[in-house]
Symmetry: C2
Subunit: 196 residues, 2 copies
Amino acid sequence: MKNSLGAKTIVPTTPVWVVGTYDPEGKPNVMTVAWGGICCSQPPCLYVSLRKATQTYGNIMKRKCFTVSIPSETYAKETDYFGIASGKTEDKFSTTELTPVKSDLVDAPYVEEFPLIIECKVIKVVKIGLHTEFIGEIVDVKADSLVLNEKNLPDIEKMKPLIWNIAGRTYHKVGKRMGKAFSIGKKIQNRSIRTH
Amino acid sequence: MKNSLGAKTIVPTTPVWVVGTYDPEGKPNVMTVAWGGICCSQPPCLYVSLRKATQTYGNIMKRKCFTVSIPSETYAKETDYFGIASGKTEDKFSTTELTPVKSDLVDAPYVEEFPLIIECKVIKVVKIGLHTEFIGEIVDVKADSLVLNEKNLPDIEKMKPLIWNIAGRTYHKVGKRMGKAFSIGKKIQNRSIRTH
């Protein structure tokens, strides 16, 4: 028997992503979001959902592109600040002394100090309600050498991304490995094949 | 200087969600997805992205609703199996001996043993490419008493959800708390207000 908690967005886990855009004057801006995720494998796409009231919403509407910079846990404070302050009144790069780098593929900046960044071109805008989804085709992923493994892929234990716990309003680390996907469930599948 | 890794969906973090639906004969089915997230606060909405080839895609197209059951780490193996096997050829509930419960709000089943479940009515279907997004309005969230805190909200440390690490193809636990959101960044904001 489960307890009804009502129609709420208290659903784990959600990511902690920093969306980079240029404002109409070409000033770089960043905003932290948790309403984001991968939404297609081919073409590779991710989305971020934004309120119309944000600076980032207007910036993306105008330039049709954005970046996502994934902070490591070292930058939890700066990332939280990026979600509190508005680019309409504060220069978030200057305040944090972090470095905006112009993407060579899309007309948007990313955060140099963050270990992984994704460059996106908007291919769909989906109005839902308070939030609008911007679906961006991933044109490139770039990473610091320090977080790559021997296969030249980003290693989550080296990257140390954050997780957003909406119900408790806290950030969390990524914890221990729990097993290999498409593998630990195979014993159960074999059981099924034997008995059917 | 960052290394280009190409246009790939290797972006942390993504969730581990189990989508529940009924097939045309009313048989309950479940499928594990990582392409999912919250996409609107008002109305509260989440999405899951699915390939047309899956049983779940057809089931949602027909009944226009689904549930999301969030597994705790205890059920990592069953969850992995739900992502390996197809409901077209295997009865995933019967194989795992987990219990399908019919939602009283939407025409879809959820997994009784998982600590948090979300009931959704589809309000938009967004075709992207290989994947199609099903945007569902959250009509209720239900949780086991054991995972609720004193505010009657789900406690992520009690729920123990999984995280999907796509680049390494591993599941991970949620790790330690890194600080309070809308709070740890305030010192930086105050610095900005003082100096501008």
